[in-house]
C-alpha cells in the first residue's frame, strides 16, 4: 500500500526545500525526495579533502529573497550570511594605472575608498561611479518586484494574469525619461556596451561586466548581458538580511537551514531516494515511483529538477503532446562554467599586492581586460575551454575559518568558460578534466605564482561533472540559459511560465522557471504559492 501525500517534491535543492517549507507551512502533508545522500543540490557543502569543507558548486548567496528568510525564520535555523567585502582585480605588468610593477584594481563596499581608488585611474570614472551607482540603485528598486511576479501569458485572452505587469508598467511610467531609457538599455544591451557609456578604465569595465556573463554562454559584448549588472544592486537594497555574501558553513548551510525550517513545519525529507518516474493517470500526475520501485502517491507533484529532466526523463514518453515536447527540446542549456576547489596550506600571494590582507577577503576577479574576457568567450564558442579563463575566486576560510583545519584555507574558483560541448577533436570532458584544472592553476599563477606550492588537494568540476553530480542538464548552473528569449513568460516554455505544466498537478519549481537561477529561492516560493492558490488558498504575494 503506497504512502499518500498532499505534495511530493522531486529534488532537495534549495528551491525544492523552499517549496516544501511553504507547502508544509500551509498544512499540506509534504515529502521531499533527494537523489543524493546530501541535501542542497547545487547549494551543497561537502568535505572533498579530509578536513577541508567546500561549497562544491554554488559558492555565494545571491539575492536569497528576504521574504523567504523572514517567512521561514531561517536565522533561527542556522542561516548566517557573512560579509563578502569588495572585488580585487589583479593585473599583469604594464596594464596598470602606475608604471613599475604590476598594478591592481580594488573596489570595496566603502564607497569613498573605492572612488579614491578609481581616481588613481580616471577622474571621470571616479565621478561617473557615483552617478552610475545611484542610477543602478534606482533601477534595481524599480525592477526588483519582477522577482516576485508570476509571469502571465501575453497571448492569453484572460488579462488577469497580466495585472502584476500592469503594476510594473505604472511604476515604469513614474520613472524619468532617462531612467526609462537606461532600463531599456539594461534589458537589451551587452554589459560592455552599457558600461562603455560611463567608464573608460578597461579593467573596471572588464570586472563589472563579468557579473553579466556568469553562468551564461554569452560574452561581455553579447546583447542581453547588461541586465545582470542590476543583481548586484538588488542585493544591496534587499536590506537587513545580507543578500550577498558567504553563508556560514558554505552554501550547503543555506540548504540545511531551509531543510530544518521545512522539517520544523512538518515536511518530511528523504535522501538517497532517487525518483525514477512521475506517475500519471490520464492527464494528471498522481505521484512518483522511486528507482527501487517504491511508489509514493500525491495530489500534487512539484519537480525542482530542470525542464529537460522533468519533462523528457521523468515523464513516461508520449505523456506530452509533440509540440510541447518540441518546445522543451528547444530550451537551451549550454552549460558554460566549471569549478575548481582547492585546499591550500597557506594563502596565495599576489605579485601586485604581496602578503595577506583585506584584498583577499572579498571576491578576487581574474578579469584584467575586456579583450581577455571576450577572447575567453571566443574560445568557448568554438568548443574549447578558455585558454585564459575568467575566474571568480573566493577564500571562504578568511571569513569562516571552520571550513578548514587551523591556519589552512579552502579556495573556491568559479571558472568561465568551459563549454559543455567540447570540440570532438579534444575528446570528452573525462579526457580533459585535469588539463582544464591545470589551465586554471596556470591562470592563477600568472598573478599569484606561489599557488602551485601551496596546493594540498584540488577538485575539478567540468560541466559534465556538474551534470552528473548535481543532475543539471549540460551542467547549466541556472537550469537553462538565461538568454533574453528564455526569460519571464518564455521560461521555460511560452504559455507555461506560471509553474504549471501540461500535466495537471505536475508543477515545475526549479531554476528552469521564472525568475531563473541563482541562490534566490524565489522559484520554489512562487511555485508553492501557485500550488496553494490553485487549491483556493488565499496567499499574499509581495
Amino acid at each position: 500500500m503506497p504512502q499518500r501525500y498532499d505534495a511530493v517534491i522531486i529534488g532537495g535543492g534549495h528551491n525544492g526545500l523552499v517549496s516544501a517549507a511553504y507547502l508544509a507551512r500551509a498544512g499540506l502533508r509534504t515529502v521531499v525526495l533527494e537523489r543524493r545522500h546530501v541535501l542542497g543540490g547545487a547549494a551543497v557543502t561537502e568535505e572533498i579533502v579530509p578536513g577541508f569543507r567546500f561549497s562544491v558548486a554554488s559558492y555565494v548567496v545571491s539575492l536569497l529573497r528576504p521574504e523567504i528568510i523572514r517567512d521561514l525564520r531561517l536565522p533561527e535555523h542556522g542561516l548566517d550570511i557573512l560579509p563578502l567585502d569588495g572585488t580585487f582585480t589583479p593585473l599583469p605588468e604594464g596594464a596598470g594605472a602606475h608604471t613599475g610593477g604590476p598594478d591592481y584594481l580594488w573596489r570595496v563596499n566603502d564607497h569613498g575608498r573605492t572612488v579614491r581608488e578609481l581616481r588613481r585611474w580616471s577622474k571621470n570614472d571616479a565621478e561617473a561611479y557615483e552617478e552610475y551607482g545611484q542610477l543602478m540603485v534606482e533601477m534595481a528598486r524599480f525592477i526588483k518586484p519582477i522577482l516576485g511576479i508570476v509571469p502571465g501569458d501575453p497571448t492569453d485572452l484572460d488579462p488577469r494574469p497580466l495585472l502584476p505587469l500592469a503594476g510594473l508598467a505604472r511604476s515604469f511610467g513614474r520613472l524619468t525619461e532617462r531612467q526609462q531609457a537606461v532600463f531599456v538599455q539594461l534589458m537589451t544591451m551587452s554589459a560592455a556596451d552599457f558600461l562603455d557609456q560611463w567608464f573608460e578604465t578597461d579593467p573596471l569595465k572588464a570586472t563589472m561586466s563579468a557579473s553579466g556573463i556568469i553562468g551564461t554562454y554569452q560574452g561581455i559584448r553579447s546583447p542581453g548581458t547588461a541586465y545582470v549588472l542590476l543583481h548586484h544592486y538588488m542585493g544591496e537594497i534587499d536590506g537587513a538580511f545580507r543578500a550577498w555574501g558567504i553563508p556560514k558553513g558554505g552554501t550547503g548551510g543555506v540548504s540545511l537551514s531551509i531543510a530544518s525550517a521545512a522539517r520544523a513545519l512538518g515536511a518530511e525529507i528523504r535522501t538517497e531516494a532517487p525518483v525514477a518516474r512521475i506517475l500519471t493517470r490520464g492527464d494528471r500526475a498522481t505521484g512518483v515511483v522511486l528507482e527501487d520501485g517504491e511508489e509514493i502517491e500525491a495530489s500534487a507533484v512539484l519537480s525542482s529538477a530542470d525542464a529537460k529532466v522533468t519533462f523528457l526523463d521523468l515523464l513516461e514518453p508520449g505523456t506530452l503532446d509533440a509540440s510541447f515536447e518540441q518546445e522543451v527540446r528547444r530550451f537551451k542549456f549550454r552549460g558554460s562554467s566549471g569549478k575548481v576547489n582547492i585546499a591550500v596550506d597557506r594563502l596565495p600571494d599576489f605579485t601586485c599586492l604581496p602578503g595577506p590582507g583585506e584584498h583577499l577577503r572579498g571576491a578576487i576577479s581574474f578579469s584584467p581586460s575586456m579583450d581577455d574576457m571576450e577572447r575567453a568567450y571566443d574560445d568557448a564558442k568554438y568548443g574549447r575551454w578558455s585558454r585564459k579563463p575568467y575566474i571568480d575566486m573566493i577564500i571562504p576560510t578568511l571569513v569562516d575559518p571552520q571550513m578548514a583545519p587551523p591556519g589552512k584555507h579552502v579556495i573556491s574558483c568559479f571558472v568561465q568558460y568551459a563549454p559543455y560541448k567540447l570540440d570532438p577533436s579534444l575528446g570528452t570532458w573525462d579526457d580533459n578534466r585535469e588539463a582544464f584544472g591545470d589551465t586554471v592553476i596556470d591562470r592563477i599563477a600568472e598573478f599569484a605564482p606561489n599557488i602551485r606550492d601551496i596546493i594540498i588537494g584540488r577538485q575539478v568540476l567540468t560541466p559534465l561533472d556538474i551534470e552528473r553530480t548535481m543532475g543539471l542538464t549540460e551542467g547549466n548552473i541556472f537550469q537553462g540559459e538565461l538568454s533574453l528569449e528564455q526569460l519571464f513568460f518564455n521560461r521555460p516554455v511560452p504559455g507555461y511560465a506560471r509553474f504549471r505544466t501540461p500535466v495537471r498537478d505536475l508543477w515545475l519549481s526549479g531554476s528552469s522557471t521564472h525568475p531563473g537561477g541563482g541562490l534566490m529561492g524565489a522559484n520554489g516560493r512562487l511555485a508553492a504559492l501557485e500550488v496553494l492558490r490553485s487549491r483556493g488558498r488565499k496567499v499574499g504575494i509581495r
Partner: protein, 536 residues
Amino acid sequence: MSTTSGYDAIVLGAGHNGLTAAAYLARAGRSVLVLERRDRVGGSVDTVELAPGVHAPAVAHTVGRLRPAIARELDLKAHGLTLIAPDVRAFAPQPDGRGIALWQDTAATQASLRAWSEVDAAAFAEFDTRVRSLARFLADLGEEAPPDVRDPGFGDALMGLRLGRAFKGLGRDGGRTILRVLAMAVADFVGESFETDPIRAVLAWRGVRHTAMGPWSAGTTKVLLDDAAGSDGGASGETVYARGGPGALADALAAAARAAGAEIRTGAEVVAVTSVDGRATGVALASGEEITARAVVAGMDPKRLLTTLVDPVAIGPSLRWRASNIRTPGKVAKVNLVLDGLPDFPAAADDQRLLRGRILVGMTGIDALERVFDTTKYGDLSDHLIVEATIPSLADPTLVAEVTEGTHVLSAHVQWVPATPRDGTWDDHREELGDAVLRTLESVAPGLTGRVQARQVLTPLDLERDYGLTGGHPLHVEPGLDSFFAWRPLLGHARYRIALDGLFLAGSGAHPGGGVTGVPGRNAARVVLDDLRRRR
C-alpha cells in the same frame, strides 16, 4: 549673410528617406526645400561612374525593400524608375564547387536545397511561411509611429489596439513565436529548422547584414525578419535592381518631389539647425546663408544631427549625453570592380542565371561567419571576408552600354571589417582591404582578379566622410535590440519628433530603421504634416 525665408519644411539630406519625406510633404501642398551636402541626390542610394562610361552601385546595390505603396503613391514609374527582378534571389557558391541557390520560386529553391539535404529542402517551405507571417507583423509595426511610452494618449491607445489586432492576427502560436524569436540569435532561429551548416549560414545572412553583430548575437533574428518585412523577400530575401543603378531610384524620388513643387539644392551643406526657445526655426549653411522654416526634417543620422547640428544648450546635457552614446559601429565596407569579362564561378557551371542575384561568398557555415565577426572586436582585418556581391550589369546592360562588349561591374558588399583598424586609420589600410576582398572572391571565382580593370574601395571611414554616415554605419544606428521601435533612436524621441519642437527625424535612424524602404521618410512626413496643421 543673407536670410531666405518662407518654407513650411526644410529637409536635410537628399537620401532616399529625405526625398521620400519631401515628396509626400510637397504633394500635400507644403513648400519644401531639400538641402544636400553632396553634388548629387541619393545619399547611399548612389550610382558611381567607376570608369568612363561604366556605371555601378556605389553603396546600396539592391532596392527591393522599397515599399510598393510608396512607389505607387509617388508614381515613381512615371518619374523614370524601372525595376528589374531576376528569378534568382541569391546564390552561394561553396569552396567545394557546389552551390546553394535561393529562387523567387519556393519549389526551385527546394530543388537546390535537396542536393544538400532532403530534410532541409522539406523544412524550407515551412520556414519561408513562418518568416513571411512574422515579417508581416513587423511590417504592420513599421507603418506606425511607435506609441509614446512616456505618457500614452488616446492616439497611442488606438495604435495599441491596431497593434493588438495585428498581434492577434498572428494567432496564439504566432504570437508566442514572435515573442520568443525576436530577441533570439539568428543562428538559433535557423538552427531550429535546418541541419546543414552552409544552408544555415546562407539563410541567417540577412540577420547580420549591415550590422556589427554576428549570427550568435541576440536580436539578429529581428534584423532578419525586418529585412523580410514589407517586401516579398520571405526567407530567400529580395533582389531587385533599379535600371541604370540605384541612383535611378533617387532620381525618380527627386523628380516626384520636384513635380510636386519641392525645391532641391545640392552642394548645400548645413552647419547648424537654428532654434529659439527650444523650437527649431531653420538652418544655417556653410555659405553663411540662413534659411527659416516651420519644420526642419533631418534625413541624416540622429547622432550627427544631435551632436553636431543642434545647439547643445537647446537640447540639454542629458539628451546630448544620450545622443553621444547612440551606437554607430560601422563594420561594413564596399568594393566596386570593373571587370573586362564575366568571371568564371565553377559552382555555377555555365548556368549564368545563377549570377544575376546576390552572390554570397564565404558563407560556408554559421561559425565561418562568426569567426570573421570575431576579428573585428579586436580591430583586426580578417584575410578572408564575407561578401555579398552582385553583377548588376548581367541583369541591366545599360550600366555598361557605352563601353566594349563583355565589360561587367561587380558590386561587393563586405562584412565584417573593424570599425577602426587597430593601428593607424583606414586611409593606411584601404588597399589591404581591397586585396582581402579579391582573395575572398578568388576562392569561388578563380581568375577574377586578373579581370579587374578598375576598383573602388569604400572603408567605414570613406562611408563616414563621403556619405555622412556617422561611424560609417549604413543603417545610421546599429539595429540592436537597444535601438528598436519605441526606443529607436532614443526612447522618448522615437516618434519622428526629436529633441526640439519643429525638428523631425526622417532617416534610417528612426523607426522602423535602415535599408532602402522609404518608410521612415513616409512616416515622418505624416507626423510633420500633422504638426504643421496643428500649428496653423
